[in-house]
Each structure stands twice: as C-alpha cells, then as structure tokens.
C-alpha cells in the first residue's frame, strides 16, 4: 500500500521546550492511526505540523508527496484547503453560520461552493433536518457531526482528528466513532489523537508519545488485526 504520510526525524521546539524530538514514522493510505500519549507529549503538535497549521524546527513531514516544512504561507494555505480535513475536539464551528454554511465555508476556501453537496454531506452524518440550524441550536454531538461533514466535503487525502470525542457524551461518542469507522471502511486515511485506550483500539495502529518522543508504534488490539 502506498505511503501517504512520511515523518522523518521531526523536531519542534517552543523556546527551550522540545515538543517533538526525532520522531519518525510512516502511514499508508487508507490506514486509521491512533496517536496516543499523556497531555503535553506532543500529539497535537504533530497533528498541527501534519495539517500545515504549524511548521517543524527540523526534519521532514511529507504528506501525499508534499514536504510541509518546505511550504511558504501561501503554500500551506493551499495544502490545508486541498489535502487536509480537520476535526477538532471543540468542534470550532463559526457561530453565526448555519450548519450548511459552515460546511460550505470549507468549499468556499477550497474552490467553489455547492449547497446541494453540502446538504448531502450533512444528511450523511444524520443532520438532514438540522441544515439551517446555528451551532448554538445544536447539541455537542450534532456540532461535531457538522465538523465531520465539513472535514469531508473537499475529499481530503488525510483526515486529522484531535480528540474528536473528547467533549462528547457516550451516545454521541459512539455516533462520531461509527462515522470514523465508515470513513475508514471507505478508504480514508485518518490520524486520530485520543487519550482513551478503548477508542485507540479501534484504529489499525497506535503510535504512542511521551515527552515528545515516539515510544511505541504497534498494531491495534482489534481482534481482526491482532
């Protein structure tokens, strides 16, 4: 299977703090990877670098053939629009835009908007009856499903999910995880940060961090993969 993500000797420093230190790993296209570790271990920093939201201090972070470290501001902007779909723990929807407009916002920055396609994306995540609702009129789980629809709308090469169920109750957690399972089944590549071992076990592989170092890269304990 082709390599989609290649991280080589990646280092990120914030002043004297080394958030990532000599990190190397690869992710094949279509894999679902769980990135685990305690708080402050560098998980979110890694996601931010792979998503083009931050730049490394040293090393390479190649996504779909593009070395993120070498991109300028304009290049990073195009990279984010065309190759990455973000799902954040805190949903991050624009509060004065409706559900469908939040999805269309990603289309707008990518190329052109298609309201019908945005509506279909919301229907797919079970929000066909919430299209015109503002984020404040949606539950946490519904907001996260809007974020999933937004992440998928431009058919990104890589979905980066930072604690996607961290702010959800069990019922909504299950809905969002089933959506991620669906995406994985369809062949999407997912890198998901999580604290929860039970969620980490759903992934194909787990990559564990501690103090900025990659300490363990193993196959999931999923029965079918174990």
């Amino acid at each position: 299977m082709a390599t989609l993500v290649q991280v080589e000797n990646l280092r990120k420093e914030f002043g004297n703090v080394r958030a990532l230190d000599d990190v190397s790993f690869r992710v094949n296209a279509g894999e679902w990877i769980a990135i685990m570790g305690p708080s402050g271990s560098g998980k979110t920093t890694l996601i931010n670098i792979l998503g083009g939201l931050d730049t490394p201090t040293a090393g390479q972070a190649i996504v779909d053939g593009t070395d993120v470290a070498r991109l300028d501001e304009a290049g990073l902007t195009r990279f984010r629009a065309e190759k990455i779909g973000f799902i954040f723990q805190q949903f991050h929807l624009v509060p004065y835009l409706t559900a469908v407009e939040n999805v269309m916002l990603a289309q707008y920055f990518h190329s052109t908007t298609d309201e019908k396609e945005a509506q279909q994306a919301l229907e797919r995540v079970g929000l066909g009856d919430r299209i015109e609702h503002l984020p404040t009129q949606l539950s946490g789980g519904e907001q996260q499903r809007v974020a999933v629809a937004r992440a998928l709308i431009n058919h990104p090469k890589l979905i980066l999910a930072d604690e996607p169920t961290g702010n959800l109750d069990e019922a909504n957690e299950e809905i969002v995880l089933s959506l991620l399972r669906e995406l994985h089944t369809e062949g999407h590549t997912i890198l998901m940060v999580t604290h929860a071992p039970s969620i980490g076990r759903l992934a194909d592989r787990r990559i564990e961090f501690a103090h900025g170092h990659l300490v363990h890269a193993a196959a999931s304990l999923k029965p079918e993969l174990a």
């Binding site: 979110t44 931010n48 998503g51 939201l53 931050d54 501001e73 304009a74 902007t77 195009r78 990279f79 984010r80 629009a81 065309e82 990455i84 973000f86 954040f88 805190q90 991050h92 624009v94 509060p95 004065y96 835009l97 407009e101 269309m104 916002l105 990603a106 289309q107 707008y108 920055f109 990518h110 908007t113 937004r150 431009n154």
Partner: protein
Amino acid sequence: MFWRLVFQLLRGSRGRLAVAILAIVSGAAVISALLNLDLGVQNKLTQEFRTLGANIVISPANGTPAQISGAEVPSLMPQRDVLAALQQLPSAQVSAAAPYLYVVARAQNIPVVVAGTWLDQAQKLDATWKLEGNWVASREDDSHCLVGRNVARRLHLALGNPLELHYLDRSAQCSVAGIMDAGGAEDNQIVASLRTVQSLANLPGQIGVAQLSVTGTTQVIADYAARLTSALPQYQVRPIRQVAEAEGALLGRIRLLIVSMVLLILILTALCVLGTMAALAMERRKDVGLMKSLGGSISRIVGIFLAEVGVLGAAGGLLGTILGAALSYWMGLRVFGTAIAPRWEVFPVTVALMILVTLAGALPLRMLGNVKPAEILRGA
C-alpha cells in the same frame, strides 16, 4: 457565498456593530447637512446680502459740475444712456435698479435733501428700511413721497400730510405715504418720484446716480460691473466693495468652517469605527484561525471583513445622507427662512466618504493577518 458570509457576519455581530453604525449614520448625517448647506448657503447668503442694498453704483465721471439756474451742482448723466446700457445686459442678474437725482430743496423753509427715484424700486433696493405707512407701488405715482423720520419730526409731518417742496423758483407737492427709519442718511431725506424731482430742479431726463442690486458672488458682481463699464465708458461704474467683499469673505469663512467640521467629523467617525473594529478583531481571532485551518488565505478572509465594513459604511452613509438632507432642509428654514433643497451630488460624495472612513477605521483588522491558527485553536 462571499456575500452570504458578509451578511451573516453583519447579522452575527449586529450588537457590536450597532455603535459603529450609529457613529457612521450620525457622521454622514452631519456631513451631508453641512455639504448641502455649503452648496446652498451661497444662494441664501447672496439673497440675504441683497437686502443690504445696492451693490453697483453708476455715476458721472469726475468732470465739470453742472449748472442749474446759475447754481453749481455735481455732474449729471442722461437717464436714457444708463437705461439703454442696462437693457443691453442680462436682466436676470439684476434684482433691482433705480436712477437717483438729489437736490437740496426747502420744505417749510427748512433745507432738506430730496432724492428723486423710482419709488417702486425703493423697497427692493432698501429692504432694511423700517417703514411706517405704505411703500409707493408705482414709479409713475408723482403724488406720494416717503419722508425720513428726522425730517418728519422736524417738520411735524404725519402720514397723509401734504408736503410742499421749493427749489429756487419752482415748487412741487406730494403727500406723505410713509415715514422711513433707515438708520442712516436717508432719515434726513425726502424720497419723491424721479419725475417730480427732475421737474423741481428743471432737469428733465437727467440723473445724478444709478444704483443696482446684482445677484451673485463677488466675481459675478465684478464681472457685471466690468460689462457695464464697457457699455458706459463715459461714466464711473463701481461695485460697492463693502457689501461685495463682506459677502465673499463670509462665504470663505463659512466654507472653511464647514470643511474643518467635515474633517473633524470624519476623524471622529473613523476613531469610533476603529474602536469597534479593534474589539471585533479580537473577537474574531478564533474565527480567523478556523478559516485559516480550512485553507482560507488571509487576503480572502480579510476581504470578507472589509466587504462587511464597506457595506456598513455604505448603508450607514446612505441612511445618514438622507437624514442629513432633512437636517439641512430644516436648518435652511430656521436660519434663512427658506428651505435648502438637497443636492444630488452630496449623496455619492457622502457615501464614498463614509465608506473610505469606515475602511480606514477597519485598520485593526490587519492584525488578523498575524493570527496563528495552531495557537488560536489550541487556546480556544
């Protein structure tokens, strides 16, 4: 999607933007009113100045004095020469004109200056006179005259009293139609019909001076005087500088005042918008961080916010301009007694000024360019 985003932004931030739009509407209203006043005040002031009297005087050039029955009097002009010259020039600019012949006659054996003129023009040329009684409506009316208040007091004259004037061996009669209080030399004069005084002085068709009230700016008046000079080279034509220059100086000062106030209001409006936008920029850092993470370039994101500000400026400017037109209409009525009609050119100028000043006030939005999405989204 662009405009959809812009209007959703406006709707979403309406509370915060209310202060800015209030400032823009108020600023636009005052600017529009001032600009309407600036354009309208010229005509109004000219009308006001016309009430101060004539602003062009035609008189004989310095030369040999005339002789009347052996007595020496100042140089005179044939009335027909002056009237012929006036007929050659556009009459629309002349709001009033009258020839004058002055003689020192005797009434009740007391010497008194008698001015012969077209009595129907006296009211237009000397609108500031306070008159007890009636103006004389026709220049052909030789039976009535106006008497200055000092003359009336000295001669114990009342309205309707007969008055007999003597000059050398000639005499004329009229009855007092009005007693005038001019606050000047006219209070010591009698104003009778031109024909009466010409007959009294035995100078038919002769006048000593002609006065005109010409409507327009100082330049218009000077131009008119120059054309009269060409038509009457043998006489002296001069604008009365006191009135013309006072008008010009006042217009200049009013314009300076208006321009200064417009600038001040623009600065204040920009500062108010600046304050609102600085607060809004802080509020929107998270949205900008998110938009950047979705692949939005900073130029595209700031473009949305600038369009929002532009719409705000245009809408506020338009509303304010309409209010300003009403304000100038009301101010015209209060200050000049007649309404100042709104000028169409004020609308685009005011709206454009408000858009520009609002965009200038949106300077804090530039700081959004420095937003680091990773920091913003982590800290949110």
